[in-house]
């Protein structure tokens, strides 16, 4: 399975997710689900006064692709500013994943990004 999306780095994030937990006092929370496959991702952030991410965590259930992406994404957001993260695109996430995904699985990889954007949206208010 040389061309497989299920390569070691992805499986490693799936089996050993980084920051998969709930924060005690999150400032921002975003949650998204996909009723079709039952995937659910919640992202929680703690940010400082300058809008930098101090702490981030994810929780939820889902397939290998969505859970591994959530893990990578949460790792990525540490120390970055909210305004920078708002500009994070689909392409950035796919680059982070480093695998080829057909259209059928794209939504799995993008669910965590949607959850993140939804959390950042909450910070505008």
């Amino acid at each position: 399975m040389a061309s497989s999306p299920y390569r070691e780095r992805v499986l490693d994030h799936y089996h050993h997710p980084r920051h998969r937990r709930r924060l005690k006092a999150p400032d921002l929370i975003g949650e998204k689900d996909n009723p079709v496959c039952g995937d659910r991702v919640r992202i929680e952030l703690r940010v400082d006064d300058e809008g930098r991410v101090l702490e981030a965590a994810f929780s939820g259930d889902g397939c290998i692709i969505s859970m591994a992406t959530a893990s990578m994404l949460v790792e990525h957001v540490y120390g970055r500013s909210v305004s920078e993260l708002r500009r994070l695109t689909q392409e950035d996430v796919l680059r982070m994943l480093g695998i080829d995904l057909g259209p059928a699985r794209l939504h799995c990889a993008l669910l965590p990004l949607e959850a993140l954007h939804s959390a950042l949206e909450a910070s505008r208010e």
């Binding site: 499986l11 496959c37 397939c63 290998i64």
Partner: protein, 407 residues
């Protein structure tokens, strides 16, 4: 015994490679592949005698009409309908069921009436009835399933009373594979004065179906699941019912006479076929019926039964694999399962990389999955062209997946 090697030669797509591996196609319950005979009949029509049907006075139109209407005769005899007038061409099972809901339903279902469904229905045999019930103030009641995946027929008598005007149920579950004792349910429905609609989407392609023997009032099925093209489906209805039902869609072909303020309807079956029909698809379905008839529905059912029994034995030997639904002798060619904690979408994706096409998700049966306590399953489904060797390929690929995903 089927000569599967010969049959496979009729399906050119089965020679394909996917991700460098020979294709193992295990998703015929969603839509089957098409044999050369069907492709040829359709191409021949387009090349030689294509024109719009009905009312044409020139040769091409007469020939096209003749082939299209001949397809109706073939379908009628395939399910042993009493008359060709009882065969309405639609787009698919879904449209057939909606046709009944919008015509028979709207004129026969009122406030407080009940429609009895089952917990194992496909969304297309739930949602049209929900829409009707909402419009009319009627109530939907569901016959439960047992933990083994059978219909809980002991509950049938409780649920069937004079309030029930319609019983609508599948002849074979597209998830559990369970084959339903249609005759028994139809008889009981009739005893309380209800009519019976059978969703034949999974049964008609895979086993002999005789509407007179079953006694059902309506039977819906799709051409694309029985070696025919997409875009053509069938509604069988008892003639007396069809006669008194109002039309479904209005337009050309379904009328006898159009005045400025009203119209009168065409005879059966055309009363229910508004507009230019799926002409070539209908002819393709006729060819599919010929193809299946020549092989024999008994033989096809027996073959699937054998392959499924073998596949279930192979799959259930894998640690962490759980099949939903009844033992092989009670099911058609469908095996839905969960495997370890691997998400069905990952599983189907990983199997695809091995050249194996299976379906993952809720298979348009969310209430059933909820009843089973699952969000999704992976489903392998078998047809006349599948072999026990393909079941081996599936089992071997699952072992490989388990090694890759590990844990």
């Amino acid at each position: 015994m089927l000569d599967v090697e010969r049959i496979r030669r009729d399906f050119p797509i089965l020679c394909r490679q996917v991700h460098g591996k020979p294709l193992v196609f295990l998703d015929s319950a969603a839509s089957s592949q098409k044999p050369l005979q069907v492709l040829a009949a359709m191409e021949e029509t387009y090349r030689q005698c294509y024109a719009n049907v009905h009312r044409g006075v020139y040769t091409l139109s007469e020939e096209a009409t003749c082939s299209y209407e001949e397809a109706r005769d073939k379908v009628a005899s395939f399910i042993n309908a009493r008359a060709r007038e009882e065969i309405i061409f639609t787009r698919n099972t879904t449209e057939s069921i909606n046709l009944v809901a919008y015509t028979w339903g709207r004129t026969h279902i009122g406030p407080g009436d009940r429609i009895l469904l089952t917990e194992m229905e496909h969304h297309s045999n739930i949602v049209p009835w929900q829409l009707l019930a909402q419009e009319k103030g009627a109530e939907l009641v569901y016959l439960p399933i047992t933990d083994e995946g059978f219909l809980d027929l002991d509950r049938l008598d409780d649920l069937l009373d004079e309030r029930v005007k319609l019983v609508a149920f599948t002849m074979m579950s597209n998830v559990l594979g369970t084959i339903i004792p249609v005759k028994e349910i139809v008889e009981k429905a009739h005893q309380v004065g209800a009519i019976a609609l059978v969703d034949g989407a999974q049964a008609v392609p895979h086993m002999p179906v005789d509407v007179q023997d079953l006694g059902c009032d309506f039977l819906a099925f799709s051409g694309h699941k029985m070696c025919g093209p997409t875009g053509i489906g069938v509604l069988y209805g008892r003639e007396e019912l069809l006669e008194e039902m109002p039309p479904f869609l209005g337009g050309g072909d379904m009328i006898r006479r159009v005045e400025l303020d009203h119209s009168t309807w065409n005879d059966l079956p055309w009363k229910f076929e508004a507009g230019t029909p799926a002409i070539v698809e209908g002819i393709g379905l006729g060819a599919a019926v010929d193809y299946l008839t020549e092989i024999g529905m008994e033989a096809i059912a027996a073959h699937e039964q054998e392959v499924v029994a073998y596949a279930m034995e192979r799959l259930s030997a894998l640690p962490g694999l759980k099949i939903v639904g009844p033992p092989a002798e009670h099911r058609g060619g469908v095996i839905a399962f969960t495997f370890r904690n691997i998400h069905p979408h990952d599983l189907a994706h990983l199997l695809d990389l091995e050249g194996i096409a299976v379906r993952a998700g809720h298979h348009c049966a969310q209430p059933l999955h909820r009843r089973l306590g699952l969000v999704a399953t992976t489903r392998a489904s078998f047809y006349l062209y599948n072999t026990s060797e393909e079941a081996d390929r599936l089992a071997e690929a699952l072992e490989k997946v388990a090694r890759i995903v590990g844990k």
